[in-house]
Point group: C2
Chain length 161, copies 2
Amino acid sequence: MRADARRNLDRVLGAATECFAEGGLDVSIDEVARRAGVGHGTVFRRFPTKEALLDAVLGKEIDRMLLLAQGALAEDDPWEAFSGFFRACAEGYGHSRALVEGTERCRELPQMAELQEAADEIVRRAQETRALRRDLTAEEIFELVPAASRFPDVILDGLHV
Amino acid sequence: MRADARRNLDRVLGAATECFAEGGLDVSIDEVARRAGVGHGTVFRRFPTKEALLDAVLGKEIDRMLLLAQGALAEDDPWEAFSGFFRACAEGYGHSRALVEGTERCRELPQMAELQEAADEIVRRAQETRALRRDLTAEEIFELVPAASRFPDVILDGLHV
DNA sequence: AGTGAAACGGACCGAGCAGTCCGCTTAGAC
DNA sequence: GTCTAAGCGGACTGCTCGGTCCGTTTCACT
């Protein structure tokens, strides 16, 4: 891969991440290209459709979440692990409109399976110690993340037993 | 106003309410007109812009909420009044994507001032009896409504003292 | 039934979007 | 320095959408 191509690819991914985070998934490719300082033809050469670009951006966000989840699984106290991870997810959501609007699309990303498993385990451990209410599945609990991005303490209070 | 005009106006408002509730604010005017069984010229005759139609639909939803709020203010127990109203709001949000996506726009509707006042009073009373946590304003509390549309009990647990 | 105004609806316009294409530029191997 | 393939970007296309316009239809009053 040529050096200029590599550089432009990085710029495009960076610009797309920022644009979608700030303006949501409806931001146009022209806008992304402008912010990246390239022509929009260059964007389409790397990502054949807008959806492909979206998947790349969301995939990187999922990867970041996965690292956080693995960190939480290394923690001793299960409630601390859960609440810390939950707060981190909430903060991520608060910083990115792309995540909020793209939750549905994320479900179909390959990385998601692993993240799902990690999150399940974090929840299972916290529920085992009776610190976390047991009438909700992991999936349901993480539907509360968007709300928690504004008021994490209220939500965690509601989830604590 | 001619009878056919009145009938078509009702149909358009009804169709718009359904369309925006199901598909969000991005549903096209053509779609609304089709569901109403009229040409899209007829829609634009009554509502000069799409925004005007949106405001009409959202305004009617706000009116419904206001009735619920006044009902709650007639209730004896302040916590019951608050939690009942909060649940009703949550259910309304759950049934309408228009409300979710149009929260911002609602803020500028004339009816909103009165609803705001009523909600403030409902919250004030519940906080006075120490049933409702006092570290949040009414406005902040109602930002939790979208989350509560899925899991009202969790949110109310988090809000109860 | 006749008439005039009100209402109708679809043809039409312009803007903005995703996606394509091709002539020009440039990196980097020799 | 030369050469060539990889890379570039902007002109272009087709589509959808909000909004306008006007010839035709329908209501409702006498």
